[in-house]
């Protein structure tokens, strides 16, 4: 059974493993179920995720959108880059691969190999430029350039255009910068969670129960780490921030990661005027933190950066439990079921038991109440 891990990201750049769905197959139906269950864990509809990052898995991609209609779905650009590279190696050849038994000049073979390598490097660097282009205009020019490089390989171009670039809004920087992504543009965080889990598991052929044993151990350590990071962020402030008057109000209330982003942006704001065009406002749109143009304006008017300028995610330095009234009893319904059972004919009783009660009670050792001969 594959494990479909869902990981969240805290304000202190720690990972929080939300759930561990073990699925029978990687099918759309199973993914939908797991996502719905996960959605049920969220406390309110105002708390829905703004962004979900996945890899380019067809089944998963199709399913996330219907379950979370208001969420922006992003794809891991690193994995896509890997796919493009792999495809490039097979498709972009200067000369087609000679058949196995044909006699080939070794020198020529070496030359071809070097040429192939050059082409690969060119294509990959053009691709990188394409993905990292910060605005739609620069994307257009980068895409033109990419096509120019790949001109001799029409098969490769058609592959890229039909299967990858039709999803460009989901991974090219020009579009992902416009949405709140808190710096998660890859699935790195979940890959590292897989790695951490496998370190605990040690063997890849244990059964589910031993998997749980290790997962539980891992979670205890993980919560300790997260709590520790909260404590550090609340009490320790780096010296370089203490000197800056503008940021005085943020100390101890905002995570250090956010402070670092603001500090970098502050440095950048000194390099240009107050023009909005130069700024790009990426920090504002994708991190929810004041960007260079806002900081420049504030420092001109000698205003401090206030807590309201910062997206709530960065201000949360503790675990906020929700208050729920969980003190309700199901006595009425229970009695109803009992009465219903009493009236039921024998066969109906058996059916109810085998299909409903066994699922709830069977695992808790209540199975003995019905004579064993009746259980099939």
């Amino acid at each position: 059974m594959p494990l479909f891990e869902i990981v969240g990201c805290t304000s202190t750049k720690m990972k929080n493993s939300v759930g561990f769905p073990f699925l029978h197959f990687e099918q759309e139906d199973n993914f939908t179920w797991a996502l719905k269950m996960m959605k049920g864990l969220l406390s309110s509809k105002y708390n829905m995720p703004k962004m979900i990052v996945t890899d380019r898995d067809g089944a998963l991609m199709n399913v996330v959108a219907p379950v979370f209609p208001e969420t922006y779905i992003m794809l891991c650009f690193f994995h896509i880059g890997k796919n493009v590279r792999a495809k490039c190696i097979t498709d972009c050849r200067v000369k087609p691969k000679p058949p196995k038994d044909a006699k080939v000049d070794k020198k020529e073979l070496k030359k071809n190999k070097e040429k192939n390598r050059d082409v690969l490097e060119k294509v990959v660097s053009a691709w990188k430029e394409l993905v990292e282009s910060p605005t739609e205009e620069s994307y257009a020019s980068a895409s033109f350039k990419f096509k120019e490089v790949c001109m001799p390989f029409p098969k490769f171009i058609s592959y890229v255009e039909t299967t990858i670039l039709n999803l460009k809004e989901k991974f090219v920087r020009a579009w992902t910068n416009k949405v709140l992504n808190l710096g998660c543009r890859t699935t790195n965080i979940v890959e590292s969670a897989h790695g951490a889990l496998k370190k605990y598991l040690r063997s890849s052929v244990g059964d589910l129960a031993s998997c749980w044993d290790e997962i539980n151990k891992m979670l205890i350590v993980q919560f300790g780490e997260i709590q520790g990071s909260f404590g550090r962020n609340k009490t320790v402030v780096e010296h370089k921030y203490k000197k800056i008057k503008m940021m005085r109000e943020l100390e101890d209330y905002v995570s250090r990661r956010a402070l670092k982003f603001i500090h970098d942006e502050l440095k950048r704001s000194k390099t240009f005027g107050f023009g909005k065009e130069d700024c790009g406002c990426v920090q504002k749109t994708s991190y929810g933190l004041p960007c260079a143009c806002i900081i420049a304006m504030k420092s001109k008017q000698k205003l401090p950066i206030v807590l309201d300028d910062i997206y709530p995610h960065w201000k949360r330095l503790s675990v906020q439990g929700e208050e729920v009234d969980d003190d309700f009893s199901v006595m009425e319904e229970w009695n109803g079921i009992q009465e219903c059972l009493k009236k039921c004919p024998y066969k109906m009783k058996l059916y109810l038991f085998t299909h409903q009660a066994q699922r709830v009670l069977g695992v808790r050792g209540c199975i003995g109440k019905i004579p064993k001969s009746h259980i099939r």
């Binding site: 494990l3 805290t10 769905p21 995720p49 890959e191 598991l201 589910l208 290790e214 919560f223």
Partner: protein
């Protein structure tokens, strides 16, 4: 006993003899303690040998203790019964889903209460991906 046909000289060292290499009750406790904290059998053996210079325990005995301990833990519960009893004990939230004939559980989802709280605190960005080679199903 001598039979003059299959005799060989007495061994000076006792390693390899199960009786000589058996673990004392205290050592067993220690081994189980180390198994719980994911120590590999080799390291456990090294530890035993360091503490007791005359020990002739073999790696096999450590493995035996481990298997016996693991079996004893579960009692006569099956894998899923044990899993679910543990999930209930530790107050996990868990959901299961059966196949259409309701004979076998196909999907299982569980989450720790603490991670649910964390999820509700930091719900802006979620990252998901699936991995293989975690279990034998």
């Amino acid at each position: 006993m001598l039979c003059r046909m299959h005799d060989h000289n007495l061994e000076e060292k006792l390693s390899g003899h199960f009786l000589a290499g058996r673990l004392s009750a205290e050592e067993k406790k220690k081994v189980i303690y180390m198994i719980k904290s994911l120590t590999v059998p080799q390291d456990i053996l090294t530890n035993l040998k360091q503490n007791n210079k005359e020990s002739v325990t073999a790696i096999k005995q450590v493995y035996n203790v481990r298997t016996r301990w693991r079996k004893g833990q579960r009692g006569d519960m099956t894998e899923l019964q044990y899993l679910i009893s543990k999930l209930v004990e530790h107050q996990y939230v868990y959901y299961t889903r059966c196949n259409s004939e309701e004979t076998t559980i196909e999907n299982i989802f569980f989450a720790h209460p603490e991670s649910i709280k964390l999820l509700n605190t930091f719900s802006t960005v979620l990252v998901m991906d699936s991995t293989y080679k975690t279990n034998n199903h």
